[in-house]
């Protein structure tokens, strides 16, 4: 099926494709049905064709990029930059606006620098976590990578999308130190101290003379990131892996209020994750093996399954990083706090010391384990996530949790809910909607559930951390304060930097183009 960029007819698009071929080489302009199929979202919540691309281009550097931008601006062709294109559950490589041309940066895949002294690196967009770990290992580096739950994605892409990991450097966007950007007009800019000729400090300090701009280019469509500096953690002297099981549903608020001060004071010095009961019963099983009734797996059945495995209603997992003596102190403090507030909680601990072989619980090895749960509800499976940002205060977290659990059950979906304690002060909820991709009714039900939850969250003043392509407009519309002052500012920045709006139209609801019409405030 032919898919065209909006507003272009076949002849004009063919002329543009010929110009792209002349600019970057015909072999790097992908137009066949099989090529375009490889950029569809494998976990689309409904019809993949809604987010189909018209072609894909794979430049090998900034010179190619500049040529592509010149042509795209002339023809007003929307470009959708992807680094590895593995943003599973949020759209993968597919564009928000049907007919966009994928700008596939996979060929820009150099690890430009790893500085063992300062613990920094400089990478290009096509470097995956697999690639990066292999390069660290090849060099015998004493620096550790903070990877997400699956390693197929791009180091840059994950950080720019506010992805998370499980080490003290687990808020990946906060490890960014210096970006190289290509603006829509083809000009190349280095942020931070990269603006200084011959700088040796580009990756050493985030805050230059003047505004720090790095955050502006995360979860946005203002420019194409061509290089990123990041900070890496020196190998720790030791680690402790901690698993806490909390028995009752009604313990939730106390659990959050127990964890918050431990995380805020850095006693727990890496992100923690919390899983509710439904999230724990899936591991290694299929839904059909445990539930054949209508609607969501019932609370009674879920509790029965937890009991079989001797698991509590809530599980908490985190790693601590320190010397053996300091780990003892951290663990003693955690035990003391839990004994005071949640005396029935149980705690399992594993230890590791520098020089010992690494183990899987340390999450230092690359992994694709997250893909193993995709078929939970049926094959071919998919999932997308509802991810509100919630203050790490028991009462507030309980308010949000109870709404999400109730709505999931109301819509016939298993409330598969987790929370990341990325920082001390806020939780990122991840409520996964699993579905069978060929079941149109189920996909429609998931979309309706997501939108219902957006409405519920706006009512209580909550916003989202990230969304699938389908919900970019829903998410941006939650930012209504001051007559949508922030979305309006974003649109003004977009208009100044990319007046033709060719870069990632629809992304985060910013700019004049999107599949559902102009963004908020336009």
């Amino acid at each position: 099926m032919t898919v065209l960029p909006p507003g272009l007819d076949q002849d004009v698009f063919e002329r543009a494709l010929d110009e792209f071929r002349a600019a970057i080489g015909a072999e790097w302009v992908f137009t066949t049905d099989a090529d375009r199929a490889s950029y569809l979202d494998p976990f689309e919540i409904g019809d993949q064709d809604v987010h189909a691309s018209s072609a894909a281009l794979a430049p090998d550097g900034v010179d190619d990029l500049r040529k592509i931008l010149r042509i795209a601006n002339r023809y007003r062709i929307p470009l959708w930059p992807v680094s590895m294109g593995k943003n599973f559950a949020y759209g993968t490589a597919a564009p928000e606006m049907r007919g966009s041309v994928i700008l596939d940066l996979k060929r820009m895949n150099r690890v430009l620098e790893i500085d063992e002294v300062l613990g920094t690196a400089l990478v290009e967009p096509g470097v995956s976590f697999f690639d990066f770990k292999a390069e660290l290992d090849r060099r015998g580096s004493a620096l550790w990578m903070s990877g997400p739950s699956h390693s197929w994605g791009s180091v840059i892409g994950n950080a720019l999308e506010h992805g998370v990991g499980y080490t003290p450097y687990g808020q990946h966007v906060e490890s960014i130190c210096g970006l190289e950007l290509m603006l829509a007009d083809g000009s190349l800019v280095r942020t931070g101290l990269g603006a200084i000729q011959n700088s040796k400090e580009w990756q050493a300090s985030r805050w230059p003379f003047g505004p720090g701009l790095d955050g502006l280019f995360t979860q946005s469509n203002f420019a194409i990131v061509t290089k990123m500096g990041l900070w890496l953690m020196p190998e720790p002297d030791g680690m402790a892996g901690v698993w806490i099981s909390v028995p009752r549903r009604e313990d939730y608020a106390a659990l959050i209020d127990t964890l918050r001060p431990l995380r805020m004071t850095d006693v727990i010095n890496a992100p923690y994750t919390i899983a509710n009961g439904w999230r724990q019963i899936t591991s290694g099983r299929l839904r059909s093996e445990v539930w054949s009734g209508p609607g969501a797996v019932s609370r009674e059945r879920m509790e029965e399954l937890l009991k079989e495995r001797n698991q509590g209603w809530w599980s908490v997992t985190f790693n601590l990083f320190d010397s053996a003596e300091a780990l003892d102190l951290r663990l003693a403090r955690i035990r003391r706090d839990f004994e005071r507030t949640l005396p029935e909680a149980t705690m399992d601990i594993r230890r590791w010391a520098k020089g010992q072989p690494q183990e899987s619980w340390m999450r230092q090895e690359v992994s694709l384990a997250a893909l193993g749960a995709v078929d939970w509800g049926g094959n071919p499976g998919g999932h997308s996530d509802f991810g509100p940002i919630v203050a790490a205060v028991g009462e507030r977290a309980e308010e949000v949790y109870s709404i999400i659990e109730r709505r999931f059950i109301e819509f016939g979906k298993d409330p598969w809910i987790g929370m990341f304690g990325i920082s001390g002060r806020a939780l990122i909820f991840v409520a996964d909607m699993y579905y069978t991709r060929t079941d149109e009714e189920e996909a429609a039900r998931c979309r309706a559930l997501f939108r219902q939850l957006c409405n519920d969250m706006v009512e209580i003043g909550i916003g989202l951390y990230r969304t699938h392509l389908h919900f970019m407009q829903d998410a941006v519309k939650m930012h209504g304060w001051g007559n949508a002052a922030l979305p309006r500012l974003n649109n003004r920045i977009k208009d100044a930097l990319d007046p033709n709006g060719i870069l990632a139209p629809g992304k985060q609801g910013i700019g004049p183009w999107a599949s559902s019409g102009p963004g908020i405030g336009l």
């Binding site: 099989a34 690890v111 300062l118 697999f130």
Partner: protein
Amino acid sequence: MNTLVGIAGLALAIATIGSAAAKTQPEAPRPSDQIYAERCAYCHDANGWGTRVLARRLPASDAVLLNRASLPPGYITFVVRHGIGAMPQFTPSEITDAELAELSRWLGRGN
């Protein structure tokens, strides 16, 4: 004086360690066994997630990709570009058409 020596030593360390900037994915067509090792084996070896998922609906002997009795090249090509079940697809920037054609023949020969 000590400070100056320290700074010079630091600069030398950075220059030495940071000198390599090799492409992590070379552009010349890669041999199929290398592509298999880099892109497929992680999920499709005996302990991989892909093997575990396949074992839910295939005989154990067929769940490991390299043990599969029949793997028509056309089927492999289609699956790699379109994905199947829980397996997401691969783009031509990850595995080129030429590499995929050879990989499909290589897997089809029962390697």
